[in-house]
Each structure stands twice: as structure tokens, then as C-alpha cells.
Symmetry: none
């Protein structure tokens, strides 16, 4: 299953927030009932995925030379920064404060589906980002077509 759609939920003072129902459903077949969060390398937002995908990433980096510089960087950048957050009984997680601050989130969190991954934005920041990139993305729209079905 995929992370689809855009949902806005409130974050309380403790950083507690409901993960959208559809997003939770997207992980219901996984052994780990929760999500992995880490800061985005390209935008002012939090990125998230399933544990399953993290393991896939790990397998991909395993193919690199153990002592290569690349491997060192990837491991330190991705895995050291990632936190696993499990859902509580009502479907909430507690987002660590440093991630909330990194994304500039105040009060409300925007969950943005991206297929295999998702992002968590401050609403205002997301609108700023969209204004900048939407037209560019539309220009590249022809590349969206399938090569083969």
C-alpha cells in the first residue's frame, strides 16, 4: 500500500499527533506498527516511511564497499538520524522536538503522501514550497507517462 493524499492534524504541546488513518492502514501488513521519521535532505520538512522500506534502504547500502566513504556518509546521514515511532492505541505518535523545530511546525502538521514515503510539513512552509515548485513540476509532466503498461 501507498501513502496517498494530504491530511492536516493538530500537534499538541508534547508533540503528540494522530497519524492519518489511511497512513496507518498503509502499514497494517508490516511487522512494525509505526513509522520511521528523519529530517529531509532537500526540504524544510520531516520525511517518513515504513520500517520495511528502511530495511530495503539498508540492503541497498549493504551492496557498497564496507569501508567506502560513500557507505560511511549514507549510514551516518540516514540511519543515525532516523527514529522509529510506534503508534499508540489511538493511532498517535510523538514527534521528537528537534524534528518539529527543523520543519518549523507550529500547531498543525500537514501529512503529505508521496507513495512509498510521506512528508510532514508546517502548513505555511508547504504552501510556500508548492508555490515555488508546482509550475516547474507541471512543465515536466510529459515524463509522468508510463513507458509500458
Amino acid at each position: 500500500m501507498l501513502f496517498l493524499g494530504t491530511i492536516e492534524n493538530k500537534i499538541d504541546a508534547k508533540g503528540r499527533v494522530s497519524v492519518p488513518s489511511d497512513f496507518r492502514m498503509a502499514t497494517k501488513n508490516d511487522s512494525f506498527q509505526g513509522v520511521i521519521l528523519y529530517h529531509s535532505f532537500t526540504h524544510k520538512c520531516i520525511e517518513g516511511c515504513t520500517m520495511e522500506r528502511m530495511e530495503k534502504l539498508s540492503d541497498a547500502t549493504d551492496n557498497l564497499d564496507l569501508f567506502s566513504e560513500e557507505n560511511e556518509n549514507l549510514n551516518s546521514l540516514i540511519f543515525s538520524d532516523a527514529r522509529q515511532l510506534s503508534f499508540d492505541v489511538t493511532g498517535r505518535i510523538v514527534i521528537p522536538m528537534d524534528l518539529i523545530e527543523f520543519a518549523g511546525i507550529k500547531g498543525n502538521a500537514l501529512f503529505v503522501g508521496r507513495g512509498k514515503t510521506f512528508q510532514i510539513w508546517d502548513k505555511a512552509e508547504f504552501e510556500k514550497y508548492q508555490a515555488e515548485t508546482r509550475q516547474n513540476a507541471l512543465k515536466n509532466r510529459p515524463s509522468l507517462s508510463f513507458k509500458k503498461d
Copy 2:
């Protein structure tokens, strides 16, 4: 299976509408019993497809590259706008209000088969669209015109 034909069904006040039987049949072998809807990038209508197709699209654009901004923007545009809607026991879905408003649908929804995808139109809007494209087609295909004797 393909989405074929054009069927008109009623939408109630909650946005609830029966998906045409033939369209439901087109998804009967999929694991997700429902459809994915998103707003058209080119027309005043809603577009739809199966979850299977979405996953194919995800596989095509997913390259595990955490640092590619282009990849990020592209994924955002498609997946952040998509909603997964499962059929209820009688074969209905609830179309989100913002999509209904985007397409200008009032009362009745026109399901238009397009093979691997389909569209949902307001009837009047669809007829307007058809009239426009017919004229364009005529303009661009002078070879169709009859010779006067």
C-alpha cells in the same frame, strides 16, 4: 480489465455515488477493492485508476534516491493529491467534496471509461468539453471535408 463505456449515476448530499458495475468488475482481481481519485491536470474533471496502477507508477518513479529534488517534486504532485476510496457493500464510494467542487459536479456524475483510467464529469461540463474538442478536431483535419461537386 479496462474501464469502458459511459455511465451516469446520482451523487447524494454526502458525495456518495454508486461506481458503475462494469467499473467495479474491472478491479475485482485487485487486492484493494476500490479506486484512486485525483483531480485532472488538464480538464475540469476527476480522474481515477486502480491501486495497482498507482503502485506501478510508484515503482516507476521510486529510485531510493534521498537526495534527488526532481524526484521529490514529481512524486509530490501525483501522490499528495490522490485519495484511495474503497467500495462499500453496495458498491459505492464517497467522493471528497473538494474534488466534486473542482469538477463542478451537481447531482449527477458521469463516469467515462478511458481504458486503464477513467474520468468523472459533471454532465453539462462534459458536453461542453465534447463540443469544443469536436470543433478542434474538425479544424485540424481538413482532409475530412467533403469535396463539393
